[in-house]
């Protein structure tokens, strides 16, 4: 049996699944339910200074659905906690006391003054919490007041606040990064330079989830108006994966621990983030979609996969895929693959044909000998994977590497040698 126990910055939890700082971790009642369900830890919803912020009194969430109404993207205009600071602190202390084996990290957001950070850090330390997460990511509401993403978008501020926090608390400091920036490596480096113990990412992405075509109001609509919110859920996972990988493979931050956030819904999502360099993961939208009980699928799925794959500890997975993330010009141009259609699995929908015909390389038949028949034309197939992507039947179309012989498309012999763009004859700046 795989060992799912996790240690992140010395903070122990029975599994690597934490709930991210968000509505599910806003108060004792929810967090206790989460711990009862089996969650390894929480990042308590962001605390601020009194008087507490106020939220809108209308809809604060919006969703993007696939056609079967599976929620694939989620957006919110909720702010940090709108409850009194003392109430939160008391509940945090009580929950940590009652659940000592679970990770209790507290998210913080106060104005960019050293005194404000020092004061709140002292209060959090008194609760017995295990660590703090600096909310430099929230893209709406707070950023307009000079907090959240407004800090996260300026690397110098990140470094400054990280330094203050490391100076004024003994607790581990995690810096939560906003994705609303051009190059995620810069804020990560700033956190590292400022002495932060780890980064967590991604926070939500600036978004307008939809427009109501009757009222012409953006959704969620407050009295006919809408404001941009923070986008999350399964649809943001690819963006988060890339940002995690960028930090994990950046020489400056390669040893900086990462807590990954961004659309994690299944054990497989979690394993992918771990493989790209995250040490643990945080979940929000999935529990807001299905409830806390998905933790059973997450832990069992990860454990079963680790057993099947011969991994004993979560740390064995961390970064396994990071070395395989390269810049494009390093990719092997002598690697040749062609699509193959399993005729026994093919249901004859023809989607592979029409997308290849309309939008790609005219490399799949529709008719052979007068019969409806879909088959790859090797002379045209560039191995692009579009047909695999659109086929409704899993494993019906696969990409198969051509190991020897001649590429029917180019007429070139298939070379076993590695060769990339940097040495390609078509590259004007090739190193010859």
């Amino acid at each position: 049996m795989a060992d799912l126990s996790s240690e992140f910055l010395g903070i122990k939890s029975p599994n690597p699944f934490w709930l991210a700082s968000a509505p599910p971790t806003d108060k004792e009642y929810n967090v206790v339910r989460a711990f009862e369900a089996g969650w390894g830890g929480v990042v308590w919803k962001t605390l601020g200074e009194d008087p507490a912020v106020v939220n809108v009194n209308g809809p604060r969430y919006g969703a993007m659905h696939s056609t079967d109404r599976t929620l694939i993207g989620f957006n919110n205009i909720e702010l940090i906690t709108d409850r009194p600071l003392q109430t939160n602190l008391e509940e945090i202390a009580r929950v940590k006391r009652d659940w000592p084996d679970r990770a209790m990290v507290v998210s913080l957001m106060v104005p960019c003054e050293e005194k404000n950070w020092r004061d709140i850090l002292a209060k959090v330390e008194d609760t017995g919490a295990d660590g703090v997460e600096l909310n430099f990511g929230c893209p709406h509401g707070m950023s307009e007041r000079g907090m959240g993403a407004a800090v996260g978008q300026v690397p110098e501020y990140i470094q400054m606040v990280s330094e203050w926090c490391k100076l004024h608390t003994r607790l581990p400091v995690i810096v939560k990064l906003t994705p609303n920036i051009t190059d995620i490596r810069l804020p990560a480096r700033a956190a590292n330079t400022g002495g932060a113990d780890a980064v967590s990412l991604i926070n939500t992405i600036n978004s307008i989830i939809s427009v109501n075509l009757e009222t012409m109001s953006p959704e969620p609509s407050i009295d006919g108006w809408g404001s941009h919110g923070g986008y999350c859920g399964p649809a943001v996972k690819p963006i988060a994966l890339n940002m995690v990988a960028e930090i994990a493979r950046d020489p400056e931050t390669a040893s900086l621990p990462i807590s990954a956030i961004g659309g994690i819904t299944t054990w497989r999502d979690a394993a992918e983030f771990l493989a790209l360099g995250a040490s643990n993961v945080q979940v929000c939208t999935a529990v807001m979609t299905y409830g806390f009980r998905i933790i059973e699928e997450l832990t069992q799925g990860l454990s079963d996969w680790m057993d099947d794959s011969g991994y004993q500890h979560v740390s064995d997975i961390v970064g396994k895929a990071t070395p395989n993330v390269k810049d494009w010009q390093q990719l092997n141009l002598n690697f040749i693959s062609k699509a193959r259609i399993d005729q026994d699995l093919c249901i004859q929908c023809g989607r592979c044909h029409v997308v290849c015909e309309d939008t790609s390389h005219q490399a799949i038949t529709a008719m052979v000998d007068g019969q409806r028949h879909f088959e790859v034309i090797d002379e045209e197939c560039v191995g692009c994977n579009l047909c695999v992507s659109v086929c409704p039947v899993e494993h019906c179309i696969t990409m198969q590497q051509q190991l020897d012989g001649v590429d029917a498309r180019t007429g070139q012999a298939i070379s076993p040698e590695y060769a990339n763009w940097t040495t390609h004859p078509n590259n004007p700046s090739a190193q010859r």
Binding site: D68, Q348, G350, R351, A366
Partner: protein
Amino acid sequence: MVSPNVELLQQDLHPPLSRHEAAVESDRCYFCYDAPCVTACPTGIDIPLFIRQISTGNPGGSARTIFNENILGGMCARVCPTETLCEQACVRNAAEDNPVRIGELQRFATDHQMATGRQPYRRAPDTGRRVAVVGAGPAGLACAHRLSLYGHHVDVYDARPKAGGLNEYGIAAYKTVDDFAQREVEYILSIGGITIRHHQVLGRDVRLENLQRDYHAVFLGLGLAGVNELRIEGDTLDGVVDAVAFIAALRQAEDPAGLDAGSRVLVIGGGMTAIDAAVQSRMLGADEVTLAYRRGIEHMKASRFEQDLARVNGVVIRTGLQPLRVLGDEGRVTGVEFACMSGDDGTWGPTGATVILPCDRVLKAIGQTFVSGVLDEEGGAALAMEQGRIRVDNERRTSDERIWAGGDCVAGGEDLTVAAVQDGKLAAESIHSVLSKG
């Protein structure tokens, strides 16, 4: 006789899909390339498009896609044997043996549009051309609608007091509840430019030669006015009833519960009419209904779904029974004697055994025939025939250059509502192209 099931006559076989059900079901369509379902549809409705329009919240556009090819899309959604047409071709059969419920989705879209009372079409300016359509069944109505769309004026002559043909008189009540057949007729006629003349029997009240004289073109959608007779001893006894007439009487009855359905009913035949008659007999309260068919179950024209429907409603289906004679007592039917048939050696023939099934009512449903006599009038058009029906070409032109025909009265057809609609549509296109040339 008290009937516990008579209310079933006025209940949908498949309740209409709710908006949510339609959303879930429409999402199952793969939007296939050169979709097999479209090829399988006699009217060639762009099924992937109309389903995608439901999925994207545009049921009105979806209905327009359907009506573009089949103005009787509402009725076809109810009566088409989809399990042998579009749904049989659905690639979801290969994927999981469970096709997209195309017929029910079609009903969802067409019901939506018909509930608005608006057609998605506007008639072209009047061309001054006049076309006579004989028969207000599916073929005639489809033809009339499309001709009117192009701006021609259409007079429809029909023998019956109501339009709709078999939709109104010839199919089971539970397939067209809430007077759908008449509502659809009204919907089609709302395009304007179509006048229906009732109680006009060809050869009696209206003559083909006059129509040829008075109109620029004529379309014949005559249907099948005759029924096959058993032609055996006793087939005129009291209680031996034509199933088509039984269904028509049931459909037109003010109070179906008041009809005498018999208590032990024997339906002879293996097609849709046989099933409709058998199931409705049960619903009217008949204690025992047996459907006797001369060959094997796989030879029955009624689809598998229809066979199952009959069984679910308590109809016993017996195969390999060829009627020999109708037995009677004091002029009333008491049973039928059958020759037992076997097809074990590949060809069907009598085994030598016979069996008597007692009954108090026999419903004959062994097929309908085209009554060609109406065409043989003096001075009228002598249309070329084929296998007892009117011969037509791909455009549904008859041997007379100004007469077109379609529906069950033409040779080579499928005897389906949807095929009749296609005939009417194709004929209208052909007529329009001829009339447009001057």
